[in-house]
């Protein structure tokens, strides 16, 4: 019996939830600095704030939570885009929004040099005043998300055909805008001095270096509502996987679904990329692995991909932090080292992939 009943749903969800809970709780305890448990407990009991507690709660915990949220959001978006585009190789970055976010971030890193170059006298002052940003978002993130929004809007405008959103046009304009953004990033890197090039390169690898909770918390106000909206589309996405006409005949508002999924997925991607940079392969791999375990039914796949993606990225980040400690690898290296071979395996095993 492979049908989705209430019991099957809760059993799988409980299983994923338990694994996610365990991984998120255990990951902060692992790291290059060994925590001394006895001392930790006594200090905790006395209400003292020690170095170990600081490492645990101000450094590792926000990082682990960020890794979980980023992995969860990217995996969910990947699963949604794969159904929306009816293409198993789609990722959250396929539709170009991440390219815009990256360009925005790189542009922000280049801004001081640009201001100096054009000789705008008050420019540096102005930059200082916006550096801290607004609310939970700092200037860097806001710049990144602004570019993401601009690119998403452009893709949307280019993809409307006779009042309806065309999937083919979405894919083509997304990929094209992504390439344009990459070219712009290359131009900025060419114009930058070596120090900035280094910073840009490191950022483009994707990473989860956050200090304190601000970066982690800034993901929440966008990621959580957008994810809930995406999760609510599960039933309809099952139908769209059987073709748009069939779905429409079953009572799915196909065009509305496309718009909701495009903008929901773009919001999740933009909010994650603004903090972590473009971490690759989570959005491709996690949905595929979860689909192998739980089947293609999106009502189960989407929540499980959310939890599974989080677990996957927390695990990769823990490996990245500890494998060559005290040095840290970019987490993108680990996800790609695991994801690349899996991608190739998919290509070899499934010659019928469209």
């Amino acid at each position: 019996m492979t049908l989705l009943t209430r019991k099957r749903f809760y059993v799988w969800l409980g299983l994923y939830g338990m694994v996610a809970g365990v991984v998120v709780c255990v990951a902060p305890l692992i790291g290059s600095e060994t925590l001394e448990w006895g001392r930790l407990w006594t200090e905790w009991g006395r209400g003292e704030w020690s170095r170990d507690l600081d490492i645990l709660f101000a450094l590792r915990a926000p990082r682990v939570v960020l890794a979980f949220l980023a992995g969860a959001g990217l995996a969910l978006t990947g699963a949604v885009f794969q159904a929306l585009l009816q293409n198993p190789l789609a990722t959250p970055y396929t539709l170009g929004v991440a390219g815009g976010g990256s360009l925005g971030a790189v542009f922000w890193l280049y801004l001081p040099a640009l201001v100096a170059r054009v000789g705008w006298g008050r420019g540096q002052e102005w930059l200082e005043s916006v550096r801290d940003g607004w609310g939970p978002f700092n200037g860097f993130q806001m710049c990144s998300m602004l570019f993401s929004a601009a690119v998403a809007w452009a893709i949307y405008r280019f993809s409307r055909r006779g009042g309806a959103l065309s999937t083919a046009a979405l894919l083509l304009s997304g990929v094209t805008l992504s390439l344009i953004c990459s070219a712009a990033i290359m131009l900025i890197m060419y114009l930058s001095d070596p120090n900035d090039v280094m910073r840009i390169t490191v950022w483009l690898m994707g990473g989860l270096d956050v200090t304190g909770w601000r970066g982690t918390l800034s993901v929440l106000p966008v990621l959580i509502p957008a994810s809930l909206v995406l999760l609510a589309q599960a039933k309809a996405l099952d139908q769209i996987a059987l073709g748009e006409e069939l779905a429409a005949g079953r009572g799915v508002a196909v065009d509305r679904l496309r718009r909701v999924c495009f903008f929901g997925g773009s919001l999740v991607t933009a909010s994650v990329v603004a903090v972590t940079g473009p971490i690759g392969f989570v959005g491709l791999m996690a949905p595929h692995i979860v689909r192998r375990l739980t089947g293609p039914d999106h009502r189960l796949l989407l929540p499980c991909a959310f939890l599974g993606g989080g677990v996957f990225l927390v695990t990769c980040d823990t490996i990245a932090r500890t494998a060559f400690s005290p040095a840290e690898l970019p987490v993108g290296v680990i996800t790609a080292m695991l994801g690349g071979p899996f991608f190739l395996y998919l290509l070899i095993r499934r010659p019928d992939l469209r």
Partner: protein
């Protein structure tokens, strides 16, 4: 209790009208065959009847109420539509595909209740696909796959079924099986309309035929009334002949020469 199109007109572009003043009604318990050459508007008519395209002129009505006055899901509970060449993008199992037909009845998180499961089972029994339940759709033969798709629209529990060329890409044996299945479904009180290219099969199984040409229904009636040389020749070109089928006693259409068949617009 019927689905009816009343003088509907539809065009895909300013230059290409697909339906011109088409009037047709489906009746409960009847298998209606829509026949005609490629591009004559058969699929468009089916889409219009399913409420998937909005016709600027005329009206498609269900129980005398225009389709646009129904909600999407309410409509899907009355009309089930199987498009041409349906495929699944992911590796669903057969019973999952059939169960997806319950979409218009699911609320909230979309769990299948006891009644839904019973319907799924009944539809799979009826299409003789119960033994395929756990298999991935991709591993099935063409005929089995088509039976699964039919089971999946049966699971929609609609009393109007519209099928666009469900027998294309099937061998003669499986084509006949599909038609026999649709006949059975219609005998249970459902109104079934099917687009078909095989005139002889359509004549053998359908209760009524509608012959289309260049966006119009040029002839409608029982197979014996429609399958006449005077009706078919102008639509399919002059190279067809109609004989009596020695086995069934019904009409038998034969194409005589391999000359290019033309569809002449009728006055």
């Amino acid at each position: 209790m019927t689905l009816r199109a009343d003088k509907i007109t539809f065009a895909y572009g300013p230059t290409r009208p697909a339906l011109r003043q088409v009037t047709i009604a489906m009746r409960p318990g009847e298998l209606l065959g829509v026949i005609g050459p490629n591009g004559s508007g058969k699929s468009t008519l089916l889409r219009a009847l399913a409420g998937l395209i909005a016709c600027p002129d005329g009206c498609v009505c269900l129980d005398d109420a225009p389709l646009v006055s129904f909600g999407r899901k309410a409509l899907a509970r009355r009309i089930a539509f199987l498009p041409q060449n349906t495929e699944a993008a992911f590796e669903f199992t057969c019973e999952e595909i059939v169960a997806l037909g319950r979409f218009p009845y699911l609320g909230g998180l979309g769990f299948l209740g006891g009644e839904d499961l019973a319907v799924v089972r009944r539809c799979m029994e009826q299409t003789d696909t119960l033994s395929l339940a756990g298999r991935p759709l991709g591993s099935l033969s063409g005929g089995e796959r088509q039976r699964i798709w039919i089971a999946s629209i049966l699971a929609q529990s609609a009393d109007h079924l519209l099928l666009d060329e469900p027998t294309s890409a099937l061998d003669i044996q499986h084509q006949a099986e599909v038609f026999a299945l649709l006949q059975t479904v219609s005998r249970q009180g459902n109104a079934v309309a099917v687009v078909a290219h095989d005139l002889n099969l359509a004549a053998q199984f359908c209760d009524r035929l509608a012959l289309m040409s260049v966006g119009k229904i040029v002839c409608e009636g029982t197979p014996d009334e429609v399958m006449r040389l005077t009706n078919l020749a102008p639509v399919y070109g002059g190279n067809v002949a109609v004989a009596t089928n020695p086995v069934t006693g019904g009409p038998l259409v034969v194409v005589l020469a391999a000359e290019r068949l033309t569809t002449e617009p009728l006055p």
